[in-house]
């Protein structure tokens, strides 16, 4: 309705030209919305509905009851724990790197290359990243061989397919992601704030605990949540490292999807996916609330 009035209002300016009426304008967005409906909204709806639906279409709570079984709860706990841990490591290390990067001259070549390098490692690792780590600290890895003379330091051959190994590889993409999402926040710290602190007799410690810290805190927590959701959703890296059992939710979804035709697996994959949606939705809601707070200092 409003679209129609705005269009006619605008058209008064150059009335000589026959212009598309509002309804036709709205029709122009149909391809976009139809496409995203089929490939984005429909799959999401199918997950939510499918979590309560048996193969014959009847209502079932089988998936949900399996989701709440001790084994699945364990898997969720492991996933949540590893996401929190790698999120924390990523937040701290990435935060320090982001701050260091913000000190380097803006627009310099080194800084640009560094940011580009970070965005590649943050987003496009997956399977190849796992190979890189196998080549580094796997049985025949470069670092493993270099450390061979010092048995105490040599990584255990099974380390990479253990949870701690997976956590280490996750950090490799968590840290650069942190740098990318946190860089704008540290760039927003104005040198005047530091100077004002110093003029008023404050030390570095005062500056960080009383000025910069409180300003950065919402973005810091928000970035942690993004990292958390990122690790929680990661699949390729874990799949390439862990081949034996499903210790993380995405791996369990894979095996559930694969064994979908087994009796008793009705709606399980969908229920697991629904569980993930709920976790990510909570994380994202917190994130949105924090970003609202962080925006106060952005202006």
């Amino acid at each position: 309705m409003t679209a129609v009035t705005t269009t006619t209002g605008r058209d008064a300016v150059h009335a000589s030209r026959p212009v598309l009426p509002g309804a036709v304008n709205a029709l122009g967005t149909v391809p976009f919305f139809a496409y995203t409906a089929v490939f984005l909204v429909l799959p999401t709806v199918l997950v939510v509905v499918g979590a309560f639906q048996a193969r014959n279409g009847a209502f079932t709570l089988n998936g949900i009851s399996q989701l709440l079984s001790p084994r699945t709860v364990d898997i969720f706990t492991t996933s949540l724990w590893i996401s929190a841990l790698t999120g924390l490591v990523g937040t701290v290390a990435g935060g320090v790197i982001a701050y260091a990067l913000s000190l380097s001259p803006e627009g310099s070549l080194g800084r640009r290359v560094m940011v580009a390098l970070m965005s590649v490692t943050a987003q496009f690792g997956g399977v190849m990243l796992s190979f890189a780590f196998i080549a580094t600290i796997g049985i025949n890895g470069l670092v493993t061989r270099l450390l061979a003379p010092f048995p105490a330091l040599t990584p255990d051959p099974g380390f990479l397919s253990s949870l701690s190994g997976v956590a280490l590889v996750y950090c490799y993409f968590q840290i650069p992601l942190m740098v990318i999402v946190f860089l704008p926040a540290v760039e927003g710290l104005r040198p005047q704030w530091r100077e004002a602190t110093e003029n008023l007799g404050g030390t570095s410690w005062t500056y960080w605990t009383r000025v910069a810290g409180p300003i950065l805190l919402p973005s810091l927590l928000g970035s942690f949540l993004l990292l958390f959701a990122n690790a929680f959703s990661a699949f390729a890296t874990a799949a390439a490292l862990i081949s034996q059992q499903s210790v993380l939710v995405p791996l369990e979804i894979e095996s559930a999807l694969r064994n979908e035709n087994d009796l008793g697996m009705d709606a399980y994959a969908q229920a697991l996916a629904l569980g993930m949606i709920l976790v990510v939705a909570i994380v994202m809601a917190l994130y949105a609330a924090l970003m609202k707070r962080a925006a106060r200092w952005a202006a």
Partner: protein, 273 residues
């Protein structure tokens, strides 16, 4: 003040050097791994010869198939995502500003829905596609890849459209009698060149790195082929990973520098005027 600054410089240098080392070690290891025979530790270029020497074997056939599929899908995803998003975003900005929040929300939604979740819902959709609409060819996965690229393409186009005066450009062209396709292709596209280039590169990087959908829906793309090959020949898998990762890094760094140079040129020109 001087003392603070030099301390800051040292802090910056040490942290950034450590970061560079940390991020380069796995890549260097990948290179080392690709030329070292696992049991004896002997250096040999067999993997690279196998890759680029023009020979034939089953592993390479799988790899060629996966790479071929991924490249075709990347091209399809580029065409579909731009063809879908560019006209919609232009239309929404010019005529339906109320919808802009909705379009933004839909485009950024894939960032919050994990791919492993989406694929559970895509499985029945693709069952219908492969049995009733098209066939089970891998390349139709490109339709789903468009969704994964949506946030990146949206952001690139959004910043591109912000930087130009869309309304004036299109109204001027229209009042000179240009049709809408002419406005789109001959006026807007040239002005959005760097936004388009960056969305193409991002799409390329996303599609070439995609594993989850292909793995779960049992299709063959570059990453699933690599995954399979690694089980039998780690050296070839390492060599290909190095080429793809290195290629992506070089691609994105170059893109960033090109954009930076153009910005600088535009700024200096504006400064003279």
């Amino acid at each position: 003040m001087g003392r603070v600054r030099s301390r800051g410089t040292w802090f910056r240098r040490i942290v950034l050097s450590l970061a560079v080392v940390y991020f380069l070690v796995p890549l260097v290891s990948l290179a080392d791994f690709s030329v070292r025979f696992p049991l004896t530790g002997k250096v040999d270029g067999a993997a690279w010869v196998a890759l680029f020497g023009g020979g034939q074997n089953d592993k390479l056939n799988l790899l060629t198939e996966g790479l071929g599929n991924s490249l075709v899908m990347a091209a399809m995803a580029v065409v579909i995502s731009l063809g879908l998003l560019l006209p919609t975003m232009v239309l929404v900005r010019l005529r339906l500003p109320r919808l802009s929040k909705v379009v933004e929300f839909v485009c950024l939604l894939p960032l919050t829905i994990p791919a492993v979740v989406l694929v559970v819902g895509l499985a029945p959709v693709y069952l219908v596609i492969s049995t009733k609409v098209l066939d089970s060819n891998t390349i139709w996965l490109a339709f789903a890849y468009v969704i994964l690229c949506l946030p990146y393409v949206y952001r690139a186009l959004d910043s591109g459209l912000r930087a130009i005066d869309l309304r004036t450009l299109s109204e001027t062209a229209r009042s000179f009698g240009a049709s809408w396709p002419t406005v789109l292709f001959r006026v807007l596209v040239p002005n959005l060149r760097s936004a388009l280039v960056s969305s193409v590169f991002m799409t390329l990087a996303v599609v070439l790195g995609e594993f989850t959908f292909a793995r779960m829906l049992a299709r063959t793309n570059l990453q699933t082929a690599l995954f399979e090959i690694n089980l039998s020949d780690g050296q070839i898998a390492a060599a290909v990973s190095l080429v793809v990762l290195g290629g992506t890094i070089v691609l994105l760094v170059t893109l960033d520098l090109v954009v930076a140079l153009r910005e600088r040129r535009v700024h200096s020109r504006a400064g003279i005027a």
